[in-house]
């Protein structure tokens, strides 16, 4: 809200430079410009005197700039309120007010003010650039466009070039970034942020002795912002440790640069260095830097008391205490499989200790990942730290947590193998590829959005695939890019063999750009690769993509028929429809409709077969899988029923004591005692309505597994809750007799 109190008066200047339009009072313009220039040069005392002089001006706008310059943001906000009345037709005042909001973490209000400025002058370059900054914060492709528009209106505009340089760097285009930075420097020899771009590129290219650092410090010996900008790029490139070191350098140069403290804290948290993170974040917070990321991160650190840590030789699990005991065995089992599989596949053993954090509250996970809520991802990896949604954090069936864990752990290996130099498309592609390698029914299926992109020829050349992740140009392009990257890895593995993927991984450590890696490892140009890959994609998906509209229409017809219980139509149309698009396993899939129809016709065998196809195709709605398991049990296929129910554990094992009980019973019958123990433990950990029965069942399975002491403990726990529980009493007497017969055991 625009009129909200901004913040305390003691905050440092965060680096914002005014370039007032020429038609304004030249003396005032010069005075404001002079003050900010001194500030930029690190002449703090002189700049402060200059700004204080402005605070006594008769012009509210000048007073606002003065208050802003002395970091009295509340005062500046108050003066801007006056200033827009005094200069009602001057877009510059609105733009400057907007820039104050942008600096003080309120981009919505900033954007509103820039819009109002454009309402006064649709061609105002400052307002356009303001909007470009707002867009850049959200990695919106409009940022480039808006900055370009601003430059068309005002040819000499170094800040616009600085922004374009930053955006080019984010798009992994260092050449373009340097060109824009040079243009900014040509227009303003003291363009520190342009120099910071050069510094950043040098550092990213492993040139620590960059001359640009010296040039920057020659102008402003305290310009920590340059190293903070570099740090941001390193983080963006998943080079977290180096990014953290750069934030520290920024703070060393400018101890009052609170944004660097906040970012340092957020990134230390990403690497699970919480004590250091808390220190940095609290410093920022206590000195008035209270943006959402700082506040949320501190709140999240406080919440860690509600998590339980399980340490192993090679990894640590951090699980929320409300579900820790339940999730632990499943996650440990997957972690052991992952480490064994990837060690062997990638040919090296991780030296780093991995930490996996699982958040039942998606908002906490989002804060953990980016400092603020609103993240769409399921998991995120920072070096050797993995954070992900708990299966309880989303509706059952909406994601496959084991698949996500394999995905994120693939990042850990790829980042390690490439020394964090991998392009994003490759690490994401490998991670997506590994999901279905782990099990064909895992991983996301080909969805209509992707098919639409294939039909519309929207897949990107491999050398440009990075921008599909970083700066999407249409809705859903990130999802399409995940698909494309994954399929590129599939294609390479299929045509050249999986070893080529490992070889590419090593090459990317160079660092070497994508086209060069493709050429060296696969022996063909990127353009030729694209041609062959697209032909392969067309071979797999073109008929489906072309027939998607027709499929949709038919699905509507069959769905309506199912709703009306017109089973003849469902049975007539369903099989061909399912065959046309077998990957469609979302809610209301043809598989489910056909199974309903078969059941309605009394043919449980066909219903079971249909649901089995659904499960094999990657269907993951727990209720549908339970239905399949019930039909399998009923048909005497107990082993298959257990496999089906066990699959649910990798999708949604929480708040479902019924499924755990059913699976435990099946496994007990089949003599799979360790499995039965695990499942009955899951029932106990689910905090069941009948804890005595749950403990008793667990004791029975432990007894069957020959684990007498543990069985005795559990039966005692059952009887502690319900002393009169007859079956447990009987088991206690039996166990006591067995224990007495084996005197070495604990009594």
């Amino acid at each position: 809200m625009r009129w909200a109190l901004l913040t305390a008066a003691s905050l440092p200047f965060l680096g914002c430079v005014a370039y007032p339009a020429a038609e304004r009072n030249p003396a005032a313009v010069q005075q404001v410009d002079k003050c900010w220039k001194m500030s930029r040069r690190g002449q703090t005392a002189e700049a402060t005197s200059c700004f204080i002089a402005l605070t006594t001006s008769k012009d509210a706008y000048l007073r606002a700039e003065g208050q802003w310059g002395v970091k009295n943001y509340t005062g500046a906000n108050d003066q801007f309120k006056e200033a827009v009345k005094q200069h009602a037709q001057d877009p510059h005042v609105k733009v400057r007010w907007g820039r104050l909001f942008l600096e003080r973490f309120n981009k919505e209000e900033a954007s509103n003010l820039f819009e109002e400025a454009l309402g006064l002058d649709k061609d105002d370059p400052e307002a356009m650039l303001g909007q470009a900054w707002v867009a850049s914060e959200g990695f919106d492709k409009m940022a480039v466009e808006l900055a370009g528009k601003a430059l068309k209106q005002q040819e000499k505009y170094p800040e616009a070039h600085e922004l374009l340089a930053k955006l080019a760097l984010e798009d992994s285009n260092p050449k373009k970034a340097r060109e824009e930075a040079d243009l900014a420097i040509a227009q303003d020899a003291e363009s520190l942020d342009a120099m910071a771009i050069h510094l950043t590129i040098d550092l990213l290219e492993d040139q620590p002795e960059s001359a640009w650092g010296k040039k920057i410090l020659a102008i402003n010996p305290r310009y920590g912002r340059a190293w903070s900008m570099a740090a941001e790029s390193f983080i963006h490139n998943r080079r977290y440790e180096e990014g953290i070191a750069l934030y520290k350098k920024a703070i060393e140069l400018d101890p009052g640069y609170l944004e660097a403290y906040s970012e340092l804290g957020v990134n230390l948290m990403r690497l699970a260095r919480e004590d250091e993170a808390r220190q940095a974040l609290e410093h920022a917070y206590q000195n008035g830097y209270r943006n959402a990321a700082t506040v949320n991160s501190l709140t999240l650190i406080d919440s860690y008391k509600n998590f339980i840590t399980y340490k192993h030789d090679r990894y640590t699990l951090r699980l929320h205490k409300k579900e820790a005991e339940l999730l632990r065995p499943y996650m440990e089992e997957q972690m052991e499989k992952i480490l064994a599989s990837y060690d062997q596949k990638y040919g090296f053993r991780l030296k780093e200790h991995v930490q996996v954090e699982v958040y039942p509250d998606h908002a906490d996970f989002a804060v953990r990942a980016i400092g603020i809520p609103g993240l769409g991802a399921l998991g995120v990896t920072f070096g050797s730290i993995v954070a992900m949604d708990s299966p309880s954090g989303r509706p059952p069936g909406s994601f496959h947590w084991a698949s996500t864990l394999w995905h994120e752990m693939s990042h850990v290996y790829t980042l390690t193998a490439t020394k964090h130099r991998t392009p994003r498309w490759f690490t994401e592609g490998m991670a997506v590829y590994e999901e279905t390698e782990a099990s064909p029914d895992w991983g996301d299926r080909v969805d209509p959005l992707v098919l639409g992109a294939i039909k519309g020829k929207k897949l990107l050349p491999v050398a440009e695939l990075e921008r599909g992740f970083v700066r999407p140009s249409y809705n859903g392009q990130v999802i399409v890019s995940y698909f494309q990257a994954g399929r590129i890895c599939n294609y390479i593995a299929e045509k050249w063999g999986p070893a080529k993927l490992v070889q590419m991984m090593k090459e990317f450590a160079g660092p070497v750009p994508t086209d060069a890696v493709i050429k060296k490892v696969l022996g063909l140009d990127a353009a030729e690769f694209d041609k062959q890959f697209l032909a392969w994609i067309d071979g797999h998906f073109k008929p489906l993509a072309d027939g998607l509209d027709d499929w949709r229409k038919k699905l509507v017809t069959v769905s309506k028929a199912a709703k009306d219980k017109d089973w003849l139509v469902v049975l007539a149309e369903g099989p061909s429809l399912r065959k046309q698009y077998p990957d469609f396993v979302e809610s209301g899939s043809v598989y489910e409709l056909l199974a309903q129809a078969y059941e309605a016709k009394g043919d449980k065998k066909l219903a079971k077969a249909e649901l089995k196809l659904y499960s094999d195709a990657g269907g993951r709605t727990p209720e549908t899988l339970k239905k399949l398991a019930a039909l399998q049990s009923e048909a005497g296929e107990k082993k298959e029923a257990a496999i089906t129910l066990d699959r649910i554990n990798l999708i949604s094992p929480v708040l479902d004591e019924e499924t755990h009980t059913r699976l435990a019973t099946l496994w007990l019958e089949q003599g799979n005692y360790p499995g039965a123990v695990r499942e009955y433990r899951a029932v106990v950990a689910s905090k069941p309505a009948d804890p005595a029965q749950a403990r008793y069942n667990l004791a029975k399975s432990l007894d069957a597994a020959g684990r007498l002491d543990e069985a005795a403990d559990e039966v005692l726990a059952a009887l502690e809750a319900a002393p009169g529980f007859r079956p447990a009493q009987k088991l206690l007497l039996e166990l006591t007799a067995k224990q007495e017969a084996a005197p070495t055991r604990k009594k």
Partner: protein, 305 residues
């Protein structure tokens, strides 16, 4: 269900339990079917227990007049040692002053229901109001020795509830008898149904639109989590809802009186031990618990022979 050692009392054997089950108007076919189905199932489940006298009012027959008739009969038949269990299923409304359950014809208000209940001499009374807005009925229904359970914490929770479904499940599922004494007490059923209701919303990532409460002190606010620290749950822990087995058969056998007395003694020692648990080393507690539980199991085995 026993809250502490001091609350332990052998369960009195009631002469009879009077059950009144009401399902009100559904408004839509889906709700009509659901409410009637739940009421019928609940009625069937309680009818099968010993000494049950059950009344069902469902669908178009669930009128205020018919319900009054049943209460008139119960007021005549029930004595002080009997139990009364009333279950309301359906839609409820609250206009800021009065709570009402929607019935064919005139609705029944909370105050009117309280007046009907007050005429019944049975000391132990349990009212389970599972309707929407049922929290608003607690104030008019509460009275010493009467357990009042509502599916919603207030009259402002107006969405259709799922609590009734899990309450009926508690009647059906032996798991609701958490202490396995073959009697589902009101508190056990409340905890069972409440837990299932909470899980229903959690599992589906739905926003919970109902929060069940219990009031058994006859005064003050109903609570979400009855426990000794908030003074709720004592009466509910001693109010039987449903007897599952034939626990009372042994009590009727004079030859087993000595064994029963011994069992009571061991049970009291177990309660005493549990009471002291926090002050004991874990290993010592476990050792003593095992000895007592083995002793109890042996006594029970003799009783059952």
């Amino acid at each position: 269900m026993k809250l502490t050692l001091l609350l332990w009392l052998a369960l009195p054997l009631p002469a009879a339990t009077f059950y009144v089950t009401v399902s009100g108007l559904g408004g839509e076919p889906e709700y009509e079917t659901r409410f009637a189905g739940l009421a019928t199932e609940a009625h069937k489940l309680v009818t099968g227990t010993p000494d049950a006298k059950a009344f069902l009012h469902s669908g178009i027959l669930a009128t205020k007049a018919k319900i009054r008739e049943s209460f008139t009969q119960i007021a005549t038949d029930a004595g002080p040692d009997d139990n009364l269990v009333v279950l309301l299923i359906g839609h409820g409304t609250f206009d800021g002053t009065d709570y009402k359950i929607n019935l064919p014809g005139p609705d029944l208000s909370g105050v009117e229901l309280a007046a009907l209940l007050d005429r019944v001499k049975a000391k132990k009374q349990l009212v389970v109001n599972t309707t929407s807005a049922s929290g608003a009925s607690v104030a008019s229904l509460q009275r010493p020795n009467r357990v009042v359970i509502a599916a919603t914490k207030s009259g402002t929770e107006r969405n259709a509830t799922v609590f009734a479904r899990f309450w009926v499940e508690a009647l059906r599922d032996a798991g609701a008898d958490a202490d396995k004494n073959e009697t589902v007490m009101a508190l056990e059923a409340f905890r069972y149904a409440d837990q299932k209701t909470v899980q229903y919303y959690e599992r589906g990532k739905r926003i919970a639109t109902e929060h069940a409460v219990l009031e058994d002190t006859g005064q003050g606010e109903a609570v979400r989590n009855p426990a000794p620290d908030n003074g709720h749950g004592l009466v509910a822990s001693r109010t039987p809802l449903l007897r599952l087995g034939a626990a009372q058969k042994s009590a009727a056998d004079p030859a087993k009186q000595q064994l029963l007395s011994k069992r009571d003694d061991v049970e009291q020692r177990i309660d005493q031990l549990k009471y002291n648990k926090a002050a004991m080393p874990a290993a010592e507690y476990r050792k003593q618990l095992q000895v007592l539980l083995v002793e109890l199991a042996k006594v029970q085995k003799e009783i059952d022979q």
